[in-house]
């Protein structure tokens, strides 16, 4: 039996060994050894954290109610012909091939023409957007603040506090960082291509995904604070911090992981059968995750309960207050807002409203948790 088990070839064993060696050694070199006298205390603190995590997991979550019904037809029959208003406070940022759109709570839309992707500043006062070879910061009304010419710029993300912010982005050289006022542009992670996400808070800590690992790096000091296995080598579909900065969500098609602030995996989920994850996000103000599986099932990870089902869904974006969930539905050309007690509000004709000629408009963010 031993010979038989040892004769089984593990596919890609050598490449796996090399990847693992790189990651394990890097983790070893960046670890912080525990002084012998502190070990008991560290264990006790670890136990307290575990208990807190369990308490969070067991807490009865408010917000979205369960809508566990299968929709046989594509789309919601009784849908509004246009987006007259958002069901919750805040502003949406949407990217279509016509440009970036800012949507106010009353339904007012403004087109920032020519920008391919955009994201909010930490408190939603500004946004950063990219177009071919140019990064720009703007106000939601389109007023331009400053621009930076960079080859192939994309994936711009804005982080920090009201007083001190940083923008991270990707260009042909790797991941770069520039201050919120446009000064001090520099290369942070050569050859890396993201995705990336700023940890909320005063320290400028950037999470990004490399070919083999997830890293969190201090953008000012340049030091990598932690790195962790990112799992199977497949594209990462979502990378997001919880509002409190204590959890990091990394979503790939076949594995969803949540790391704690030190890079330990605290939650790992894989879809059943031949399933795949499509999208996932933290519910604002919580560490709970809502996920979309197989483009059809929107469910809460803590309870496993389905909040919406449809065929050909693309993404999920919670409202800033966590009470509503925007589900994008390209196949039906609809947005569906799923609210408390199973309330549904659907909007039809989304592609036309955002003047998209090819591709369904992408929701880049619903801002903001904090005023």
């Amino acid at each position: 039996m031993k010979d038989a088990l040892q004769s089984i070839e593990v596919p890609g064993a050598e490449a796996a060994r090399e990847r693992a060696a790189t990651i394990v050694l890097a983790a070893f070199e960046t670890r912080e050894p525990i002084p012998r006298g502190r070990r008991g205390r560290v264990l006790a603190v670890g136990g307290a954290l575990a208990a807190a995590a369990l308490a969070i997991a067991a807490a009865s979550p408010p917000g979205m109610a369960v809508v566990d019904r299968v929709r046989e037809v594509v789309g919601i029959e009784r849908s509004a012909p246009a987006l007259f208003a958002l069901p919750a406070a805040g502003r949406l940022l949407v990217a279509s091939d016509g440009g970036a759109w800012v949507v106010q709570a009353d339904g007012t839309k403004r087109l920032l023409a020519g920008y391919r992707d955009a994201s909010w500043s930490p408190f939603g006062r500004f946004l950063v957007a990219t177009r071919r070879n140019e990064l720009a910061t703007l106000e939601p009304d389109g007023t331009l603040h400053w621009t930076l010419a960079r080859p192939g710029v994309r994936l711009a993300r804005w982080g920090g506090t009201q007083a001190d912010t940083r923008i991270a982005y990707v260009d042909h050289t790797g991941i770069r960082v520039v201050a919120g006022d446009g000064t001090g542009d520099r290369l942070l992670a050569p050859a890396e291509t993201g995705p990336l996400a700023w940890r909320p808070g005063a320290r400028h800590l950037l999470a990004y995904v490399s070919a083999s690992e997830v890293r969190v790096q201090d953008a000012d000091a340049g030091r990598v604070l932690w790195r962790a296995s990112r799992g199977p080598n497949e594209p990462v579909r979502a990378l997001e911090w919880s509002d409190d900065g204590r959890r990091l969500l990394v979503l790939a098609s076949h594995v969803l992981r949540v790391y704690d602030g030190k890079g330990h995996t605290v939650l790992r989920d894989v879809p059943n059968g031949t399933g795949r994850f499509t999208d996932a996000a933290f519910v604002p103000g919580t560490q709970r995750v809502v996920a979309l599986r197989n483009g059809s099932d929107v469910f809460r990870l803590d309870t496993g309960r389905t909040v919406f089902r449809g065929s050909g869904l693309a993404g999920v974006t919670p409202s800033p207050d966590g009470a509503w969930l925007l589900v994008t539905w390209p196949r039906a050309d609809q947005w569906v807002f799923v609210g408390p007690h199973g309330t549904l509000r659907a909007v039809a004709g989304v592609t036309e409203q955002f003047r998209s000629r090819s591709g369904f408009p992408r929701v880049e963010g619903w801002c903001c948790v904090r005023p």
Binding site: M1, K2, A4, L5, Q6, S7, I8, E9, V10, P11, G12, A13, A16, R17, R19, A20, A21, I23, V24, L25, A27, F28, E29, R31, P33, I34, R36, R39, L43, A228, S229, G231, P232, N233, H254, V255, H264, T265, R268, D269, V270, P271, N272, G273, T274, G275
Partner: protein, 170 residues
């Protein structure tokens, strides 16, 4: 067992003191068995890499707490196999379809390879784990009971049922 003995204790001691070459030696001594064990339990190469890698990262994180008078292998294998069982359970039905593809690929390479993989695949993850611990990694039923925190009788029954089922499939 890989890496057992005086060298291994020296590597652990060195790694605890911060020596990267010693940690690297530990890694290279233990990775092949850990990776293979994970693969035989989860039957998915990417997931096995993930499981084994996470086990090593956990080992690195807790290295300072490790009692270096003890062998490193059982400590690591305990993490690997427990994580592999969890991963295989969570994977649910999915591993079956992937296994079919991998078994089909194996069929073209090596008949023994194919038949053992297939027969192992038909077992629940818990039975696969004890067979891998017993027959790949060489632990006694008593040691497996300790590693998996199970009664020895449970280990013996899982071994017996698993091997009977494999024989039937072979």
């Amino acid at each position: 067992m890989a890496g057992a003995g005086r060298d291994e204790r020296a590597w652990v001691r060195g790694a605890q003191r911060g020596s990267a070459p010693d940690l690297e030696a530990l890694f290279h001594a233990h990775w092949p068995a850990a990776h293979r064990a994970a693969y035989l339990v989860v039957h998915d190469a990417a997931l096995a890499e993930d499981v084994a890698q996470e086990a090593f990262l956990a080992a690195v994180r807790h290295l300072d707490r490790f009692d270096r008078r003890r062998p490193f292998g059982p400590w690591l294998h305990r993490i690997v196999v427990n994580r592999a069982i969890d991963a295989a359970r969570a994977r649910g039905v999915r591993h079956e379809s992937e296994l079919t593809e991998q078994a089909a690929a194996a069929e073209q390479r090596e008949p023994v390879d194919r038949s053992v993989l297939r027969s192992l695949a038909g077992l629940p993850p818990e039975q696969r784990a004890v067979i891998v611990l017993r027959h790949l990694l060489g632990y006694t039923p008593g040691e497996i009971a300790h590693l998996l925190d199970l009664p020895r009788g449970t280990v013996n029954s899982r071994l017996r049922r698993g091997l009977d089922a494999m024989r039937g499939a072979l």
